[in-house]
C-alpha cells in the first residue's frame, strides 16, 4: 500500500506513570503504524502497557500518567501537541474508544440511544432523527435483540454481552476512522464472547474502520487482527502479520507465550473414590444455586469442574468445605459422611481438605510474613515447633520451588506467581488428601499460569493428592484433568473421563461451550460462525 494510506503513526512514544510521588517510565519508546481499515492487535501480559498505548493513540493519558516524548500523528496531525479543545473535536468523531467494562462506562442515568446520539449530535454529524435511525441500524448489525427498542433501555436493563455490543455501536456512531478496543470481551463468558467478537469483526469490516485491538488473549487477537504487536514491560518484543506471527514467532518470549496452551496431561482412571458428592442441593437464601449435584473425586486424580459464571461451580466448593451447608444430599469423604457445617467438623477433617483460591492477592493476609502464613497450619494441624517448624517451612517452600529467602517476605514483596506458590505451600502444609483449586490460574499471566499448572501436576505425582479443579477455561482443563464435570445453571450436564467428555457426541451445552473457546488459528471464528449459522451468512 502507498504512504497515503497511513492513518496513525506513532514514533518514540514514552509515557511515565506516577506511584508513591515518583514518576516511572512505563512506555519506553514505542513506534506504531496503522493503515486505514487495518486492525492491529496489541497483546501482552499485565504491565505490558498495552492499554496505556491504546489511550495514547487518542492523545489521552489517564490521571497519574503523562506523555513525555514522541509524536502521535493521526492523519497528519500530532495529537501529542494538540490542546484539549482541539482533541475534543477528534475524540468521538474520528477516533473512539471501547472500554473493558461496558457496565461502568455507560452512564447509569441515561438511555442507551441518548448516549449513542451524544457524539454525533455534539460533533454536528447528524440530527436527532438521523441518530435514531443510525442507532437502530448499528444495533441490528451488531445483532442486538429488538434493535428498534433496545435504545430506550437504561444500561442496567441489558446484559453484559449486549452492553458491550451497544458500546461498540456507540463507538461507531460517527463512523470514526479509528476505534481503540481495550479488552472488550475479557469480562465476558466464552459463549457470550464469541457473539460479541463476531459482531465487532463484521461491523468494522463493513465500515472499513481501522482498529487497535488490545487483549491478553492470543486466540482472540488471532481472530480479530491483521497484524500483531507483542509488548512486554512497555517495549516492543516483535511485530508481524497475524498468520506469520502465529506460525513462526521469532523471539523467545513470543514462543513461550505461544507454547502455553500446549500443555496436556494423559488421563488416568481412578480406583477408589476419596470424595463423593451425592445429590447435593444448596441455596443462598431463597435462591437455589445447586440442583441435585453429584460428583466423585478418585484418590490421587484430578476432577475438573467446568462452567461459566452462574453455573454454581464455586458454590459447589463452598458446599463441600462446609461454608454453605447443603439443603439436601450428602458429601462423603474417605468413606464417611462429612458433617454439613464447618463448625461441626473435626480438626483432622479440616486438615485433610484444603483450598487454593483464584486471586493470590486476596488469599494472603498482607500483614503476615510468608513464614507465618505457611507455618501456622504446620503448627496448628501437626503441632510442630522450633527448629522442626523452620525446617518444614523451608521444605514446603522448596516443594513449591521457592527458596528460603522468601520466608521473611510480606505478600506485597512477591509477584503474582510467587504468591500463588505460597498459597499452594500453605495448602500443602496441612498434608491434605484433597485440594480444592478454585480458578487458581485465571488471575495469572499465561506463562506463569502454566508454571503453576506444571507445579500442581508434579505435586500430585509426588504426594498422591487429589484435586477438585474449578475453572471456566478449557485449555486448563485439557492440561490438568483426568475427569471432567460440566455444570450449567447449578446442574451437572455431563461428566466422565476427559477424553470421553471432550469428544463428540456431546451434551448440547458442552458442545456450545467447547465450540466457543477461541483457538489459535486464523479464521477459526469465521469457521465456527459459518457452521453455527448455516445459510445465514450466504
Amino acid at each position: 500500500m502507498s504512504a497515503g494510506d497511513a492513518l496513525l503513526r506513532i514514533r518514540g512514544l514514552r509515557i511515565e506513570g506516577q506511584s508513591e510521588d515518583t514518576w516511572h517510565e512505563i512506555i519506553k519508546g514505542i513506534d506504531l503504524d496503522l493503515k486505514r481499515g487495518e486492525v492491529l492487535g496489541l497483546i501482552g501480559e499485565s504491565g505490558a502497557g498495552k492499554s496505556t498505548i491504546g489511550l495514547a493513540a487518542m492523545g489521552y493519558a489517564r490521571p497519574g500518567c503523562r506523555i513525555t516524548a514522541g509524536t502521535i500523528e493521526f492523519d497528519g496531525v500530532d495529537l501529542a501537541r494538540l490542546d484539549e479543545a482541539a482533541k475534543r473535536k477528534i475524540w468521538g468523531a474520528r477516533i473512539s474508544y471501547v472500554a473493558q467494562s461496558a457496565a461502568a462506562a455507560f452512564n447509569p442515568a441515561h438511555q442507551l440511544a441518548d448516549q449513542f446520539a451524544e457524539a454525533p449530535l455534539w460533533h454536528g454529524r447528524m440530527g436527532a432523527d438521523e441518530c435514531r435511525r443510525a442507532a437502530v441500524d448499528l444495533y441490528r448489525r451488531l445483532q442486538l435483540p429488538t434493535p428498534e427498542t433496545i435504545g430506550d433501555r437504561y444500561p442496567h436493563q441489558v446484559s453484559g454481552g449486549q452492553l458491550q455490543r451497544a458500546m461498540t455501536a456507540m463507538a461507531m456512531s460517527c463512523r470514526p476512522d479509528l476505534i481503540v478496543f481495550d479488552e472488550p470481551t475479557t469480562a465476558l463468558d466464552v459463549t457470550t464472547q464469541i457473539e460479541v467478537l463476531a459482531a465487532i469483526k463484521d461491523t468494522i469490516k463493513q465500515y472499513g474502520t481501522a482498529a487497535l485491538y488490545i487483549t491478553h488473549d492470543l486466540a482472540v487477537v488471532a481472530q480479530m487482527a491483521d497484524r500483531i504487536m507483542v509488548l512486554r514491560y512497555g517495549e516492543l518484543v516483535e511485530e508481524a502479520p497475524t498468520a506469520q506471527m502465529l506460525s513462526n514467532p521469532q523471539k523467545a518470549y513470543t514462543k513461550s507465550l505461544w507454547a502455553v496452551r500446549s500443555l496436556r496431561k494423559d488421563e488416568e482412571r481412578g480406583e477408589q473414590p476419596l470424595l463423593s458428592v451425592k445429590g447435593v442441593s444448596a441455596s443462598y437464601g431463597a435462591v437455589q444455586v445447586l440442583h441435585d449435584v453429584s460428583v466423585e473425586v478418585p484418590r490421587g486424580r484430578t476432577v475438573a469442574v467446568v462452567g461459566e459464571s452462574g453455573s454454581g461451580k464455586s458454590t459447589l466448593a463452598r458446599a463441600i468445605t462446609g461454608l454453605l451447608p447443603p439443603t439436601q444430599g450428602t458429601v462423603v469423604f474417605d468413606g464417611k459422611p462429612l458433617p454439613p457445617a464447618l463448625k461441626s467438623r473435626s480438626k483432622d477433617l479440616l486438615r485433610r481438605v484444603q483450598m487454593i483460591y483464584q486471586m493470590p492477592d486476596t488469599a494472603l493476609n498482607p500483614r503476615r510474613r510468608v513464614r507465618d502464613i505457611i507455618g501456622r497450619p504446620v503448627k496448628h494441624f501437626l503441632g510442630l515447633g522450633g527448629a522442626a517448624l523452620d525446617r518444614r517451612i523451608a521444605e514446603l517452600l522448596a516443594m513449591t520451588e521457592l527458596d528460603e529467602q522468601f520466608m521473611e517476605r510480606l505478600p506485597s514483596e512477591l509477584s503474582g506467581g510467587q504468591k500463588q506458590r505460597v498459597c499452594i505451600a500453605r495448602a500443602l502444609a496441612a498434608e491434605p488428601e484433597l485440594i480444592i483449586c478454585d480458578e487458581v490460574t485465571s488471575a495469572l499471566d499465561q506463562i506463569v499460569a502454566e508454571e503453576i499448572l506444571k507445579l500442581l501436576l508434579r505435586l500430585q505425582k509426588e504426594l498422591k493428592v487429589s484435586y477438585l479443579y474449578i475453572t471456566h477455561d478449557l485449555a486448563t482443563v485439557k492440561a490438568i484433568a483426568d475427569e471432567i464435570v460440566v455444570m450449567y445453571r447449578g446442574r451437572v450436564v455431563q461428566s466422565g473421563m476427559k477424553s470421553r467428555v471432550l469428544s463428540p457426541p456431546h451434551h448440547e451445552y458442552t458442545d456450545l461451550l467447547l465450540s466457543s473457546v477461541p483457538e489459535m488459528k486464523v479464521g477459526w471464528l469465521d469457521d465456527v460462525l459459518a457452521r453455527r449459522r448455516p445459510g445465514a451468512n450466504a
Binding site: G92, Y97, A105, F106, A109, W122, Y154
Partner: protein, 325 residues
C-alpha cells in the same frame, strides 16, 4: 414506578419506627438512675412526705410502661406534660411544656432556616469549584481554611465574632435577645452574628463533603468515556455528573442541616437567643425532665426527618429504581 413507591414507603415506615423507638428511649432513660429521681431533684433535705407528694403529682410512682403511654399519648395531641419548675413543694402555677417550647421553637427554626439559606448554596458552589480546580492553589487554601474552621469549637467562633464585630467594631448586636414583639427586621438584625457563626461552621464541613462527592463522581469510568467522546467539561458536569450527584448532594445537605440544628444549642447560649436550645440547656441544669424530654424529642424528630428526606431523594433519583428491569 411501583418499585419506587414501595421503597419510599419502606423508608417512611422505617423512619416512623425509628422515631417510635427513640421516644421510648427518651422516656425510659429515667430507669437509668439508680435510686430515686425525686430525691435527687428535691435534694437531700426533702422529707419523705414531699418526695412522695412530688412522685404522686408527677406520676413517677407509676410503672414505666404506663408513664410512657401517658406521655406519648399526650405528645401525639401536642401535650408534652407539665414542667417541674413551679410545681410540687416549690409552689407556683402549672406550666405546660408545650407552651414553653412553642415560641422558642419558632425562634430556633427562624435562626436555623436563615443560616441554611445562606450556607447551603454557598457550600455547594464552593465545593463544586474546589472539586473542579482540585490541587490548585485555590483548592489548597480552601482545604486549610475549612479544616481549621471545622476543628474550631462553635463558641470560639461565636465569641471571636462578638469580640471583633460587636464589641471592638460596633457593627452588629452582641446579643440576640429578641421577644415575640420584636419587629421582623430588627429580629433579623439581631440574629446576624448567630447566623454568621452557624454559616461559618457548617459551610466548611458541607463544602468539603461536596468536594469529595464530586471528585468521587468524576473518577467514574463513564465520565472518562464521555471525555473520550469529545464532550466538553461543562456538559460533562451538567449532563453526566449531575444526574448521578443528587443522592450524595442530598446526603451532604441533610447531614449538615442536622449538624446545624445541634450547633444551634451552643450559639443560642452564647448570644442568649431565646430558642429551644437554650431552653433545653436551662432545663438540663434544673433537671426539669418533661422539658428536656420534649426538646430532645423535637431535636431527634428533626434529625430523623432530615435523613429521611435525603434517603428519599436518593431513592427517587436512582435510575435503577426509576427504570426497573
Amino acid at each position: 414506578m411501583n418499585a419506587i413507591l414501595v421503597t419510599v414507603l419502606k423508608r417512611l415506615g422505617l423512619g416512623v419506627i425509628t422515631l417510635f423507638v427513640v421516644s421510648i428511649i427518651i422516656s425510659f432513660v429515667f430507669e437509668l438512675l439508680p435510686g430515686d429521681f425525686a430525691k435527687a431533684i428535691l435534694g437531700q433535705s426533702a422529707t419523705p412526705e414531699t418526695v412522695a407528694a412530688f412522685q404522686r403529682e408527677k406520676g413517677l410512682d407509676r410503672p414505666p410502661v404506663e408513664r410512657y403511654l401517658k406521655w406519648i399519648g399526650g405528645v401525639v395531641v401536642g401535650d408534652f406534660g407539665e414542667s417541674y419548675s413551679g410545681a410540687g413543694s416549690l409552689g407556683g402555677s402549672k406550666r405546660p411544656v408545650a407552651k414553653l417550647i412553642a415560641p422558642r421553637l419558632s425562634n430556633t427554626l427562624f435562626l436555623a432556616a436563615t443560616a441554611a439559606i445562606v450556607a447551603v448554596p454557598l457550600a455547594l458552589v464552593l465545593g463544586l469549584l474546589a472539586a473542579l480546580y482540585r490541587n490548585s492553589l485555590f483548592d489548597r487554601v480552601v482545604n486549610v481554611v475549612t479544616l481549621t474552621s471545622i476543628s474550631t469549637p462553635e463558641f470560639f467562633v461565636a465569641y471571636i465574632l462578638m469580640l471583633f464585630l460587636a464589641v471592638k467594631l460596633p457593627w452588629f448586636y452582641a446579643l440576640a435577645n429578641v421577644s415575640s414583639d420584636t419587629p421582623f427586621l430588627e429580629h433579623l438584625a439581631r440574629i446576624a452574628l448567630p447566623v454568621l457563626t452557624l454559616v461559618l461552621v457548617t459551610v466548611a464541613q458541607m463544602m468539603r463533603m461536596t468536594r469529595a462527592a464530586i471528585i468521587n463522581l468524576l473518577a467514574s469510568p463513564y465520565i472518562e468515556m464521555a471525555r473520550l467522546k469529545g464532550v466538553p467539561p461543562r456538559r460533562i458536569i451538567v449532563h453526566h455528573a449531575l444526574p448521578n450527584a443528587w443522592a450524595p448532594i442530598a446526603n451532604v445537605i441533610a447531614l449538615n442541616l442536622a449538624y446545624l440544628v445541634v450547633g444551634v444549642v451552643i450559639v443560642e447560649v452564647v448570644f442568649t437567643y431565646p430558642g429551644i436550645g437554650q431552653l433545653m440547656v436551662d432545663a438540663v441544669s434544673k433537671r426539669d425532665m418533661p422539658v428536656v424530654q420534649g426538646c430532645a424529642l423535637i431535636f431527634a424528630a428533626t434529625y430523623i426527618l432530615l435523613n429521611l428526606v435525603a434517603d428519599i431523594v436518593a431513592i427517587v433519583t436512582n435510575p435503577r429504581l426509576l427504570h426497573p428491569r
